[in-house]
């Protein structure tokens, strides 16, 4: 067993352990931190596959962006030390059985499949990726690149529109038209006992 294989198994165990902790932890802030470590482990797996560009994108976008956003939203909506609402044991057992049988089925599918691996080594030069991203011919990705930039712009505007707090005038509050984020006929008491 060579060093590369040992590093691979360590990375795999790290990723799976952190992911398991992230979905089973009771406190949501700690759960976000375990998710952070799992994402760093996945970036390490990309480094192990010698795909430095994807690993860098993973660290920049996921670790530096998405996890920070999630932690912000945790701080805006929770007391970070409170426990999350518990799930019933029967639901946990049912979910565990479904997950284990699904994973076993999928794993035996591709363990019995005979992949014919290519003998050519993969050339992970970043210049190759950059050229293909702005290429218009075959194998080029200029159109999805532009489409995804429009999507990001639309998502940014949409986030601002959804999350902005509507300005309340203090004089005549009754003349305000009902806004989207303050529905006038909301039910302040969530109905308990129907779903539990």
């Amino acid at each position: 067993m060579d060093t590369s294989k040992i590093i691979f198994y360590l990375l795999g165990g790290f990723i799976l352990g952190m992911a398991l902790l992230a979905v089973t932890e009771k406190k949501i802030f700690r759960s976000a931190i375990w998710l952070l470590f799992a994402l760093i482990g996945i970036a390490g797996l990309y480094f192990w596959m010698a795909l430095e560009f994807i690993a860098a994108v993973q660290i920049i976008v996921y670790v530096g962006g998405i996890v920070v956003l999630i932690i912000f939203s945790v701080f805006l909506t929770h007391q970070a030390e409170d426990d999350m609402p518990k799930t019933g044991l029967s639901r946990k057992i049912a979910a565990g059985l479904a997950v284990i049988s699904g994973a076993a089925f999928t794993i035996q599918l591709f363990l019995n499949n005979d992949f014919n691996l290519s003998a050519i080594p993969f050339d992970s030069d970043v210049a190759r990726i950059g050229t293909a991203m702005l290429e218009t011919g075959t194998g080029g990705y200029l159109l999805p690149f532009e489409a995804v930039s429009m999507l990001l712009l639309a998502a940014m505007v949409g986030c601002i529109v959804i999350a902005i707090r509507p300005e309340k005038s203090e004089k005549n509050d009754s003349e305000n038209p009902p806004s989207f984020s303050n529905p006038p006929t909301r039910n302040p008491e969530p109905v308990e006992g129907i779903l539990n």
Binding site: A98, A103, T106, A155
Partner: protein
């Protein structure tokens, strides 16, 4: 087992860990984190298939990059919705968000 199958075992386990979180969590932000785990396992699959089966093309790499981008947009939108929901309900528990039900 070759390298590709070992990577596939890891990504499958990661995907089903995400599904477990999706099924058992009752907090919206925790469900969002499980979805992130599932998206990451799919990314590992795309990149591994590209590297080990089709080293001449770059399609898997680009799919992974676009999935990462769209996941960022998705999380930003979802968190805007969660914050708005918290203003209206004082809770991010999915069992209490029944505004559309009545």
């Amino acid at each position: 087992m070759n390298y590709l199958q070992e990577i596939l075992v890891i990504s499958t386990a990661l995907f089903f860990i995400g599904i477990y979180g999706l099924l058992t969590r009752r907090n919206i932000i925790a469900i969002l984190m499980s979805v992130e785990l599932m998206l990451n396992s799919v990314n590992i699959n795309f990149v591994a298939f590209n590297k080990y089966l089709y080293p001449n093309s770059l399609d898997g790499i680009f799919f992974a990059i676009f999935i990462i981008t769209i996941a960022a947009a998705e999380v930003a939108l979802a968190i805007a919705i969660v914050i708005n929901l918290y203003r209206n309900h004082d809770s991010v528990d999915i069992d209490s968000t029944t505004l559309l039900k009545y």
